[in-house]
Symmetry: D2
């Protein structure tokens, strides 16, 4: 599916500082960047970095500078459907080494405090795909999506008691519950077709049957309309922007549109025991 | 300096499970493993994994199995002293990409909640080496080392209010305060000469002047008597053992002895503005 | 119903200190103390205090002193059953002034953080008795009773995520959820017939239809076999013992036995919409 | 000293609800209400309640109602100075029964988690007045007064790590640290002369030498220019307004002015070891 992405972000530096942006679609065998363009107004020197497989852009702003960052891309995302009818949980002994770090608790996903909670609610499922679907459904049914109900310090534990959050919090809770059940899970940040209001999106991937299967407990967008920017342990290492110094965020516009006739959007395909994976 | 390491750990599996051990000294240009031997009694199949540059050992235990793991090594650790008399903080724009992940908050080091705390207490230092020394001294002077005063869920925030902890908590607090001041910091786990009672040790490294400089706020051991096992964001991804399934830890013996005449131990060398780095 | 109570507690003072015990059954028109006896060995001066309607005993221990406190009583407890078939919630405007403090959050019952949680799970019930029954049932069904799973700092929020606790935690969670729904609720500490292992017990009372109706989410004992010691906002102001100074608790024995033929024990009477109240 | 108080608060009920106001100066032998007037526009029925010695006003608002509450009073406050040069801590055994509840932890003052913190920083002071002065000074010197930096869920533990707050947070931290050192302490809410911007004020009282001595770690106003409204364990049971139902706060004006020539304002009198008490 081809998608057109447009981003415009504006910053003002009341003291000098540095910004590290994480807005490039990840490049891999399944996601092709057909065209892309990154520009700033006024012109400033940009540096491209690769950190843990994610492509970042770093630049400095001098005191008093205002800058408008623009990014446009045309992306072709490929995804696969896999049938998980007869899938078994991957034993720890068989997990690939690079998957192991996604079993551990992280800043916003304190899975180490949720063993009993996760076991009580989801422990009875045998099929790991059904198990993670049950987690995702439980989050959708029990946590209210309310803009502004959480902040950058809100964790999965908070979301369980406060019962409200945004996509970031839905993803963190999904990750924490998977890890508490020894299912590797990671944060996914990207662009999402039809997201209203337009913004960056976050959801999560669980490692099932040698695939990273995508889950979105918010149910706000079709699963096959995503463009992956980055994976990470949680929002701590996958933020869209890390800002150092006295820099104010002024405004942002994000758009993710169909470039041509789309595939049919796949939503809540879970009942079919068929899961979607990007790479 | 040559050090001899001996480890003996015993586990009992009341249900089948998997253990991932993180006890191998890291191998790099500055740390040579002269000899090493890893054996289990009874014999079980071991798998060697490399995860984020750390060397792990993975094995399964069947229900009812008891296993004694033994590891012996002779290690030559090299370290360097650098003078930080005239060092300046590395600007964010100049940090190498692989250092950036150590700026972010993590499970046990919620630096995002400590900006004002860290700035109030340590913000006035210009020299970053002096700044991290001040952090390490503050921890030593304000946090009591009390065995059993914390657990695997204790975080840097807890340690600030509870004012007690063990080496792991001292390291977490040091890391959190560095990151809150935009100094990259990471967890260091290893063997330590003369540690009483004998155990694995944890301390932290701060990125200063293109080096990862070692700090040990516990002041329990000489800084140049360490053998590095692993680095990580905190204890979450650097645990000595990750145990999955119903496996009980039964006993452990760790020893780290001089293999020959040692260098003079370097302790609290901080006043001299000279810092020690392993690689 | 007549019950015989026996308590034996032993303390050792390694430095001088003061103990305030809260073990006297409360005296009121519905609970008669037929006989009682309080003694210490060796003899020490005891002072009787009344604090917020609860009767306390205060005494000092000198350094090196060991004391055995003994208390025996024969108590007749009266209770009433009320039918709550057609009960409506008492509007805030009609709550008696002395009930209002039991609407506020307290140390272990952070009702102010549970508004949405409580409304989601229990908001649909119209009848307040059914609502509190639903709360009590939910706690019984979702929280495991595990001795040693919590400590004196565990709060209702912790219990929601950790899913385990003891009677004190069950009571705190019940109270927090009631208050979050604007139903006054208070802590009840007392003696309980047939409690195994023998100990002091804690449960909670909700203010429904001008009565303080008793609920015990642990379901460990019959509701009509309780002897009330004290009410309070939570365990913070209703502890069995407050100890100041270097005094060690050594041992305790508590017994609560039938003095004669008992009423039939009432357990889980909730379905009948008939609630039990002490005074 | 005579003070004139004026309060104007406006509410709008988008659904019916109840308000309980806690704005009446407390009446006692040391504080005389010379004149007072309470009115609403439009007229609504008001009910006067006494809860734990505090005088409250309760009233209902119907859906769609907007009401302006006005209160004016002329108050003569008396206070005493006491010399604490040679004061000793009151032993627990000698504390009056009604003072004991102010030793326990409460919603916003988790003194049970601060024993070591308080002992480390303030344990060395012998004179309890000096000890509480040291607490108050430490708060003033280490916590920034920043409007909007905290909310109604912020606790003393949060304030220690976040290092910012408003008068309510300064009071909570003072109370928590006193209680952690076994000094009874309670919340004080009232009117304060010269407070900028005009608002209700909060500070704390510590029980020293049989007096409740006033401390204000914010240092925003003279200690002898206060009119006490209420005491409580913390802000949970002493809120200026408790609102039940869908009622919005619209606006508030508070003024506290001198009615005639004032006593000289007493500020930071602590060095003199002379403390001020209202009753």
């Amino acid at each position: 599916m081809k998608l057109n992405i447009t981003v415009e972000i504006e910053y003002y530096a009341f003291t000098a500082g540095t910004i590290i942006l994480n807005i490039h679609p990840s490049k891999n065998t399944q996601q092709h960047i057909i065209t892309e363009n990154f520009q700033t107004e006024p012109f400033i020197h940009l540096e491209s970095l690769t950190v843990q497989n994610n492509q970042l852009t770093r630049f400095e702003l001098l005191e008093g500078n205002q800058v408008k960052v623009g990014y446009q891309a045309s992306v072709e995302n490929h995804y696969q459907f896999n049938d998980y009818q007869n899938i078994a949980e991957t034993a720890i002994i068989n997990l690939p080494p690079d998957v192991l770090p996604y079993l551990y608790p992280s800043r916003y996903c304190q899975s180490d405090k949720l063993f009993r909670f996760a076991a009580n609610l989801f422990g009875a499922y045998i099929n790991p795909f059904e198990k993670v679907c049950a987690i995702s459904n439980w989050i959708f049914n029990n946590i209210l999506y309310i803009s502004g109900s959480s902040n950058t310090q809100t964790t999965a534990l908070d979301t369980i008691t406060e019962r409200a959050g945004v996509c970031r919090d839905f993803a963190h809770l999904g990750i924490a519950l998977c890890r508490a059940l020894t299912i590797p899970a990671r944060y996914f940040t990207g662009y999402a077709l039809q997201l209203q209001p337009p913004d960056f999106h976050a959801c999560f991937e669980a490692y099932i049957g040698n695939n990273w299967v995508l889950f979105d407990a918010t149910r706000l967008v079709p699963l096959n309309g995503m463009v992956k920017i980055a994976n990470g342990v949680d929002a701590a290492d996958t933020a869209v922007a890390n800002i150092f110094g006295g820099i104010n965020f002024i405004s942002m516009n994000v758009a993710c549109e169909l470039a041509e006739d789309a595939d049919s959007p796949f939503l809540y395909y879970y009942d079919a025991l068929s899961g979607l994976s990007y790479i």
